[in-house]
Each structure stands twice: as structure tokens, then as C-alpha cells.
């Protein structure tokens, strides 16, 4: 569904090659400033690569019209203003812009909005003002807006940062369910353990380069954790759940470069 061919975005991203297919929940990890957000924006077609291509469904996405992009790729930026003067339902309806740019929603638009609200468990809150609900609920509303776009590809930038542990696990479980329905879901993540336990595949960016791409247990080696994240850590199986966890012991002091 997505193919990156020697993608460059000078000076942030360098020579990134990867392919993604349907049904995957992909975790994009890397330290601050590694280029995760820029990579997602490039895949969403919101910036023009300085070299190489991002093809979505075979098409170079940055060259397509905004409406086409939004119908194929739903991108959720990291920060959402907290003063949006609309209700949850009105906000989710905004996801239909690429289908109904004048705002006149047809029955199929309304159905898509209803399904998106249902998938995120938001029907009880649909008439609540976005400014009044909790951060976790707002994030679910934002994901519902992406779902309303009915795009086969979802790109979410830090969708669980600043949420409490309940909402983190709740949202990851919902994203896994979406992947199981055949969507491609790519999320940028800071929580390495959650990437390890929930994602099918992990990509690790470091200083704009793709340094690892594979299943979480292949990617999170002690050597990579040391070199990229500058921590002493090793993965282990949780004796209670059988899931992969990280045992982190210490931050490695920064060395002058």
C-alpha cells in the first residue's frame, strides 16, 4: 500500500526504503528529533521529498490533490488545540471533508461518521463539546475523525502520549482491531514497551536514517537500545502474560561527539 523509495527530505530524512501492506500495526520509534513526524508527514503527502518517492497505491502522493490524499491516507498530527468550539460529532464530521467539501453530508457520510463514533466508543459523548471532555476522550475523537475519512491507511503521530495507562492500552487495542480489519496503521511512539507488546512491526529511526525494520523482538536488541536510545536495556518475556517487556537499568551518560 505504501512504498518508500530512497526517500530524502534534506536534512531531516535520508535514504529511507520500506514497504507496507494491509493489516499491519506498525510502530515508528526513535529518540526525540529522529524524524518520526517528518516521515509521517511525507507519507501523508504534506511535504515534497527532496529526493526519492513515497508511493501510495502506486501514486507519488505529494503530487496528488489534497482530496485524493485525504481519501487514501488519514493523518493525525500530534497536537490538537484544546479550544475547538465544536461537539464530538461535528468534529468527526470534519473527516468527511474530502467526500463532502461543502459540508452537505449524504446518508453515506452520516453512516461513516456513525461507524467511526462507534469504533471509538464515543456515541454517549457525541453531543459533548470537545472542550469539555478528557484528554483521552479527545484523542479517541481525533482518531474517530481519521476513521471517518474511510482511508485504508492511518498515520497517527504520538496518539497515546500524555494519556494515562488505561487510555494508552485502550487506544492501542482499538488500533490493533482496526489493523485486523485490513487497514494499515502506522503510529509514532515513545513508549518502547508498548511498541514491543502491541505492534506487529517496528521501524526505528535514528538521526533521519532507518536503522532497523522488523518484528519488535528483532528490532529491540540490547545493542540498538544502547546505540540509539542510550539506555542499558534488554527485552524479556513477562512471566505473567508471556508478552515481551523491556528491562531498563540505566541511562548511558552522553558522550561528547
Amino acid at each position: 500500500m505504501i512504498r518508500m523509495e530512497h526517500l530524502d527530505y534534506y536534512p531531516i530524512l535520508r535514504d529511507i526504503c520500506a514497504d507496507f501492506g494491509p493489516g499491519e500495526l506498525v510502530g515508528l520509534v526513535g529518540p526525540n528529533g529522529a524524524g518520526k513526524t517528518t516521515l509521517l508527514r511525507a507519507v501523508a503527502g504534506l511535504l515534497r521529498p527532496t529526493g526519492g518517492w513515497v508511493r501510495v497505491m502506486g501514486e507519488p502522493i505529494h503530487a496528488r490533490k489534497p482530496g485524493w490524499r485525504a481519501r487514501h491516507v488519514a493523518y493525525l498530527p500530534q497536537f490538537l488545540p484544546d479550544d475547538i468550539p465544536f461537539t464530538v460529532r461535528e468534529f468527526v464530521e470534519m473527516g468527511r471533508y474530502s467526500h463532502a467539501p461543502r459540508g452537505a453530508l449524504t446518508p453515506s457520510d452520516v453512516r461513516a461518521v456513525d461507524e467511526a463514533l462507534e469504533a471509538m466508543g464515543l456515541q454517549p459523548l457525541e453531543d459533548a463539546s470537545l472542550a469539555q471532555i478528557s484528554g483521552g476522550e479527545r484523542q479517541r475523537a481525533a482518531i474517530a475523525r481519521c476513521l471517518a475519512q474511510e482511508a485504508p491507511i492511518l498515520l497517527l503521530d504520538e496518539p497515546i502520549a500524555s494519556l494515562d495507562i488505561h487510555y494508552q492500552l485502550d487506544i492501542l487495542a482499538r488500533l490493533r482491531a482496526l489493523a485486523a480489519e485490513g487497514r494499515l496503521v502506522i503510529i509514532a511512539l515513545h513508549h518502547l514497551e508498548l511498541a514491543l507488546s502491541h505492534c506487529h512491526r517496528t521501524l526505528c529511526l535514528h538521526r533521519g536514517r532507518l536503522v532497523a525494520d522488523g518484528s519488535p523482538d528483532e528490532v529491540f536488541t540490547p545493542a540498538l537500545l544502547r546505540a540509539v536510545f542510550r539506555v542499558d536495556a534488554r527485552p524479556f518475556r513477562d512471566p505473567h502474560t508471556g508478552a515481551l517487556r523491556l528491562s531498563v537499568s540505566a541511562a548511558i551518560p552522553s558522550t561528547p561527539e
Binding site: A44, L46, K65, P66, G67, R69, A70, R71, A74, Y75, L76, P77, F79, L80, P81, D82, D83, I84, P85, F86, E90, F91, M94, G95, Y97, S98, A100, P101, R102, G103, A131, R145, Q149
Partner: protein
């Protein structure tokens, strides 16, 4: 919210009728409200007494210009607030009105306006648009438009335009100077039907485009990044909206001079009472702007009789406290849109 909107529109319709009756009926020559229709008919059929001429030739065109110029200012304020994602935006505050006034003064001072009557609104539009583009460019870094840079750049360019206007006035013969003075502080004196028709035509072209962008304006309240992500062509919406906002403000300023704060106050109050959905909000702003400007003109004409205050002074007296209130309420951490 939907039932409330119906009430808001009903109230605005009533307010237009009341402000029209006050504007047409009251002044140095007062006409009782119930005589306005008969006076109007008598003026139209040519059987004219003093009352009939005052009503037909002076007050009706003045009312039409007040309603339409007010509607232009409120519409452009509403649209600027949406595309600049800043509830403090107003054509006066960001300097577009002063730019427009400068264009109009240049047209008169160079004598272009006496040779070609369209020169005044055209130059007003051109200069207003130029200011809008410069202010927007100065305030935009990369893809972000900074609120404070926008306001400061607007204030700076607005002052520059006012200074140039004053310089032109200083260098002009006394008679021309008096003729041009009103552009600094707007006035509805001498409004005529030609001006009213021009304003009506421009509003009729611009309002449907703004309404078409209504959903995109709603989405822009969530931020430009989010708007792009759901497929809004943000640059195109911004460019077309800024251009058309400068057009209606330029034409309004070329007929009435600089009238500040109508574009700030009206959309703000209406957003509070009827919500931020832009299609009803734009329609209501057009009505509310007309009402506010008409009532302000009525107050200006009658408050200190027999003298008359320029309507721009009245709107500034209302607008400055409102502006400061918004500024300080924002400072205390309240959301910008509520």
C-alpha cells in the same frame, strides 16, 4: 443550537427593521415611522415635500450604505478570524482598512477619481490587498501564522498608511483636504445610491464564495495541520479568502472611510450566542454588521445634536473596550474561541 439559531435570525431581522426605522425616521427633520412608507412613495412618484426629499434622497441611501458596508466589514472580520485562526483579527486591526483608505485618498489626490469613478474603489481594493498580503507574509514563518506578529505587523502597516494619508492631506489644497478627511474616521455623510449598488454587487459576489468555504472555515479552527490532513487545500482557501475580504473591505472603505471594530465585535458576539458553525455564522454576521453600523450611525447623528459625530468614532468607542476585554480574557488562559 439549531433552535437557538432560528431565534438569532429572527432577532436580527427585527433589529434590521428597528434600526432602519430609526435611521430613516429620526434626525434634524424627524418623520414618524408610520409616515415613512407614504413619504417614500411620494418621493418616488415625484410629488415631493421637504420630508419626502429627506427620506427618499438622503436617508434611504444612507441606510442602504450603512447596512451593506456594515455587512461587508462583519463578513470580512468573520472570514479573517477563520483563516488567520485568530479571534482578534479585524480588517481595521490588521491594517487592511487603512490600506484601503490610502488607496482611496491616492485616487482622489491624483485626480483619478474625477476622471473615472471606479478608480476609488479599485485603488482602495488594491492597497487593502497589498497590506493584507504584506502583513500575512510578515506574520507567517514557514507554514505558521503567528498571532502576535500578525497584530503587530497590522498595527505598524496601518499606522504607516495613516501617516501617508495625513501627509497627502497636508500637501493638498484646503478644499480637497476637507473632502478627504473623512477617510481617516469613517462617515456615512453623502451616501448615494451608486455607492449602495456597488456595495450590494460586491456583497452578492463574495458572500456565496464565503458560504461555500464555510465547512473549510469550521475545520480551520482545529488548526492548519489538521485541516490539511482531512483534505482542505489550506493555501487556496486562505488566498481566495484574504483576496475577497480585501475586496469587500476596500469597496466599503472607499465609500465610508475607515470604520474599525465592526468586523471584530459582530462575529464575536454571534459566535457566542449561536456557535461557531460558519455557514449560519457568516449569514448572521452579514445581518448583524449592518445593524451595528446603522445603529452606530444613528447614535453618532443624534447623540450630540446639532453636531454630528463620524460613525467611525462611535464604533471605535464601542470596539476599543471590547478589544481590550478580549485581549485580557485571552491572557488569563481562556480558549481563544470561547
Amino acid at each position: 443550537m439549531r433552535g437557538r439559531r432560528a431565534w438569532v435570525f429572527a432577532a436580527l431581522g427585527l433589529a434590521i427593521l428597528i434600526s432602519a426605522a430609526l435611521e430613516v425616521g429620526i434626525g434634524p427633520v424627524s418623520v414618524p415611522f408610520w409616515q415613512i412608507p407614504t413619504d417614500t412613495v411620494r418621493y418616488l412618484v415625484g410629488d415631493r415635500g421637504l420630508d419626502d426629499v429627506v427620506v427618499g434622497a438622503i436617508r434611504w441611501p444612507r441606510l442602504a450604505v450603512a447596512l451593506l458596508a456594515g455587512s461587508s466589514l462583519a463578513l470580512s472580520g468573520c472570514v479573517l478570524q477563520a483563516v488567520l485562526r485568530n479571534p482578534m483579527a479585524d480588517p481595521g486591526v490588521i491594517g487592511v482598512s487603512s490600506g484601503g483608505a490610502l488607496g482611496a485618498v491616492i485616487a482622489v489626490a491624483t485626480g483619478l477619481s474625477s476622471r473615472l469613478s471606479a478608480a476609488t474603489p479599485a485603488l482602495a481594493f488594491g492597497c487593502g490587498l497589498a497590506v493584507a498580503v504584506i502583513v500575512y507574509r510578515l506574520a507567517t514563518h514557514g507554514r505558521r501564522t503567528d498571532v502576535y506578529r500578525l497584530l503587530l505587523a497590522g498595527v505598524a502597516l496601518g499606522s504607516l498608511c495613516s501617516a501617508v494619508i495625513t501627509a497627502i492631506l497636508d500637501l493638498s489644497p484646503l478644499q480637497e483636504m476637507q473632502q478627504m478627511m473623512f477617510w481617516l474616521f469613517g462617515s456615512l455623510d453623502g451616501s448615494d445610491w451608486r455607492e449602495a449598488f456597488l456595495l450590494a454587487a460586491v456583497n452578492a459576489v463574495v458572500l456565496p464564495v464565503f458560504l461555500r468555504f464555510g465547512f473549510a472555515y469550521d475545520i480551520l479552527t482545529t488548526g492548519e495541520e489538521h485541516a490539511e490532513a482531512v483534505g482542505v487545500d489550506v493555501e487556496r482557501v486562505k488566498r481566495v479568502s484574504l483576496g475577497l475580504a480585501a475586496l469587500i473591505v476596500g469597496v466599503a472603505v472607499s465609500t465610508t472611510g475607515v470604520i474599525s471594530f465592526v468586523g471584530l465585535i459582530v462575529p464575536h458576539i454571534l459566535r457566542r450566542v449561536m456557535g461557531a458553525n460558519h455557514r449560519p455564522l457568516l449569514a448572521a454576521s452579514a445581518m448583524g454588521g449592518g445593524v451595528l453600523l446603522t445603529l452606530s450611525d444613528f447614535v453618532g447623528r443624534t447623540a450630540v445634536q446639532p453636531a454630528e459625530l463620524n460613525v467611525g468614532i462611535v464604533t471605535s468607542c464601542l470596539g476599543v473596550p471590547f478589544f481590550l476585554y478580549l485581549l485580557f480574557r485571552r491572557g488569563r488562559g481562556r480558549g481563544a474561541w470561547r
